[in-house]
């Protein structure tokens, strides 16, 4: 049984997401991932900072992106 909250920040899937290793379906998530991965490629953001940014973003909309998170994290 999953809670309504999002997966904990120490899950490796967050770093995978930040690095563009998971295909996102929603347009806004594609753009978010693109922005983060571009910044990391340009050394303007570390992986940890990318994870922090993503985590905070998903915290704002835990219900709205629940299905997207379930596809990646499966359970939490």
């Amino acid at each position: 049984m999953m809670s309504i909250d999002i997966p904990t920040k120490d899950r490796p899937e967050w770093a995978e997401m930040a690095q563009g290793q998971h295909a996102m379906k929603k347009y806004v998530l594609q753009l978010q991932i693109d922005r983060i991965s571009k910044k990391m490629a340009a050394n303007e953001m570390t992986v940890d900072e990318g994870v922090e940014y993503l985590y905070e973003y998903f915290c704002k909309y835990p219900k709205g992106f629940r299905r997207d998170l379930e596809e990646i994290f499966k359970s939490w």
Partner: protein, 326 residues
């Protein structure tokens, strides 16, 4: 609600205090009373049945039923970057920009870098004109009734808790996997030299030599989102290619696959579960190249000189859904 309405019908909606996004020819928009509305000019539409050229009716989207609060604001080139700071925490921003303005160019080049741009939907469109006229694209701030060909008008809308605004796109133009990779050296609305599969070439000459159909856009993959840049003009004498949206340095572009039948492609790709969208718009280039006048293609909406889905888009249907998340 019927999307294309008469001046009298829209006037009544305004006088009832409805919160409206409007699109129409400037001659009819200029007759509207002040109220809670914004508008942009275009005489091209996709209504519930088919694509239309219509100068005597106004296209209406009514946001009243899901708006808790709203604020209509005007943005200049100096203030447009602050648009993200004026949003409600839960809601969306509807933005209309006049085509060919400085603000149009600025937004296209820089919106992707606006602070927290992707935290809440910013959608809308670039206003246009009758292509067989000398008109100027304009937008209207309904609060004052003032038109502008230089400034943008935005409506920030707050929606109730338990609901979420989701912005999606439908791009019928897919990347050709056999296309060469094209890279540009600067962020710009035009280009001469570029790298094609790593080799420096003149882009206009390459397009001409290879008989590239410029009705299909060049495309860039933004982590799964295919973003188009439409070709405006190719001049082999000067060697310059002009675009309707900027290309960006550091990005890899590819030519798109040709689309045989735009209307059929929209019908095939249109998401069935998203039929209850809050707003939609589509591009004048899809309308023209796909010969969509008299044909049903995509969701109803104004036909525009650019679509706004956070950033400036070309040849892309953009739409907003208000979904329940409880």
């Amino acid at each position: 609600m019927i999307k294309l309405q008469s001046l009298e019908e829209v006037t009544q909606l305004i006088n009832e205090g409805r919160l409206l996004s409007l699109a129409g020819d400037e001659r009819i928009l200029s007759k509207l009373p002040k109220g809670q509305w914004l508008a942009g000019s275009t005489p091209y539409f996709m209504d519930e049945q088919q694509g239309k050229f219509e100068q005597d009716a106004i296209y209406v989207d009514d946001f009243s039923d899901f708006a808790l609060d709203q604020k209509i604001m005007v943005y200049t080139p100096d203030t447009i970057a602050t648009i993200t700071q004026n949003r409600f925490e839960n809601g969306f921003t509807f933005l209309v920009i006049p085509a060919f303005s400085q603000l149009h160019a600025d937004y296209a080049l820089h919106a992707g870098d606006f602070e927290n741009i992707y935290d809440s939907p910013i959608l809308g469109w670039v206003s246009g004109v009758n292509l067989n006229s000398e008109d100027t694209p304009i937008v209207y701030n309904g609060l004052t009734g003032e038109p502008s060909s230089e400034f943008a008008v935005a409506m920030h809308i707050q929606i109730p808790e338990g609901k979420m605004a989701q912005l999606e796109i439908l791009n019928i133009h897919s990347q050709d996997p056999n296309s060469p990779v094209i890279e540009f050296e600067e962020d710009s609305f035009n280009a001469r030299e570029c790298l094609i599969n790593g080799e420096r070439q003149n882009f206009a000459q390459y397009i001409s030599n290879n008989k590239i159909d410029t009705k299909t856009p060049i495309t860039c993959d933004y982590s799964g989102a295919v973003i188009n840049v439409s070709v405006k003009a190719v001049n082999t004498e000067t060697g310059q290619v002009d675009f309707y949206a900027p290309v960006f340095r550091g990005r890899q572009y590819k030519f798109a696959n040709p689309v045989e039948n735009y209307a059929e492609e929209f019908a095939r790709q249109l998401p069935k579960e998203d039929s209850n969208q809050g707003f939609s718009c589509n591009c004048i280039l899809n309308f023209l190249y796909g010969e969509l006048e008299g044909k049903k293609a995509g969701f109803p909406g104004p036909i525009t000189f650019g679509e706004i889905g956070y950033r400036l888009l070309n040849q892309t249907m953009t739409y907003l859904k208000i979904v329940d998340i409880d």
